[in-house]
C-alpha cells in the first residue's frame, strides 16, 4: 500500500530523517510534536499552556496538509515532564477535540528531545 508523507514547511524538524505525518491506508500517524518555533527554539519555557497551544497548532498544520481534522483522532499519547502539565493539557485539548473523545495515554518522562519542552504529543487518526 502506498504511503503518503506530510512535512509542513513551517513546522520545525531537528533533522531530516522523519516525517511529521504518515498516511498508510486510512490511518494517519503523527510524529511526537514538541512546542517549537520555526527556528527550533522552544516556545515559552515554563509556560505549559503556551506550549500545549503551540503543540496543537503545529499538529494542526500537519493535519491540514493531510486534509484531516482533530475529529478523526482515535488515540493521543502525551509525554510530559511533570505531572502539573496534565491538567493544562486536558484543558487545551478539550477546546481542540470538542465532541471527539480519543483514547489517551499520558507518560511522565524525565525529559523530551527538545530541551526545555514540557510536553510532546503524538496522534493516531482513522480517516473516513
Amino acid at each position: 500500500m502506498a504511503k503518503q508523507f506530510y512535512n509542513p514547511p513551517d513546522v520545525f524538524s531537528p533533522v531530516n530523517i522523519y516525517s511529521h505525518g504518515v498516511l498508510a491506508g486510512r490511518t494517519l500517524t503523527l510524529a511526537g510534536q514538541a512546542p517549537l518555533h520555526e527556528d527550533g527554539t522552544v516556545v515559552a519555557r515554563d509556560d505549559p499552556e503556551a506550549q500545549c497551544r503551540r503543540v496543537f497548532a503545529d499538529l494542526k498544520k500537519t493535519l491540514d496538509m493531510a486534509g484531516a481534522t482533530f475529529a478523526s483522532v482515535v488515540y493521543v499519547r502525551a509525554y510530559i515532564t511533570r505531572r502539573s502539565v496534565l491538567p493544562v493539557l486536558r484543558r487545551v485539548a478539550s477546546e481542540i477535540f470538542a465532541d471527539n473523545r480519543p483514547a489517551f495515554t499520558p507518560l511522565i518522562v524525565p525529559s523530551v528531545r527538545a530541551e526545555g519542552a514540557l510536553v510532546e504529543v503524538e496522534l493516531v487518526l482513522e480517516l473516513d
Partner: protein, 133 residues
C-alpha cells in the same frame, strides 16, 4: 470511520476530553489504565500485584465494551515507575492473557498518573471477524 467511545461506568470518568478506549473499525485502543477504583482512588498502595490486577480488570472491561476479549490484544505497553515491579506484572498478565501472547513493550517512566500509581498499561486489540457495529 465511525468511532465508538468506550467508557464503561465501572471505570469512572476518563476525564475530558478523553475516553477509556475507542473502537474504530475493528481496532480497539485502550487508554493507559492505572490501578484505580470507580471513584478514581488508587488501590493497593505500594502493592504492584494489587494495582496490576486492578489495571487488567479495567482493561478487560474496556475491551468487552468494544466487543473484544483479551485474546484479541495485539500489543501491550507497560509503563512502570519501579523496575522491581516487573515480576508482579508478568504474573498478573499471565492470569489475564492465559496462553495468548501479544507483542509487548515495557519501559520505566519517571512517574505515573495519578499520584500513587506504580504503573499503567495500555493495549491495542483487533477483532478477527469484522463486524458492522
Amino acid at each position: 470511520m465511525a468511532k465508538q467511545f468506550l467508557n464503561p461506568a465501572v471505570l469512572g470518568a476518563a476525564g475530558a476530553p478523553f475516553s477509556q478506549g475507542v473502537r474504530s473499525g475493528d481496532t480497539i485502543w485502550v487508554s493507559a489504565q492505572a490501578g484505580q477504583d470507580a471513584q478514581g482512588s488508587v488501590v493497593g498502595a505500594n502493592d504492584p500485584m494489587a494495582q496490576c490486577r486492578a489495571i487488567f480488570e479495567r482493561v478487560g472491561a474496556v475491551l468487552a465494551a468494544g466487543g473484544a476479549a483479551p485474546s484479541d490484544v495485539v500489543i501491550v505497553r507497560g509503563f512502570l515507575k519501579r523496575r522491581q515491579d516487573i515480576q508482579a506484572t508478568w504474573q498478573v498478565r499471565k492470569e489475564f492473557f492465559g496462553d495468548h501472547r501479544p507483542a509487548s513493550t515495557t519501559f520505566m517512566v519517571s512517574d505515573v498518573e495519578p499520584e500513587g500509581a506504580l504503573m499503567s498499561f495500555e493495549v491495542v486489540a483487533t477483532l478477527d471477524e469484522p463486524s458492522e457495529r
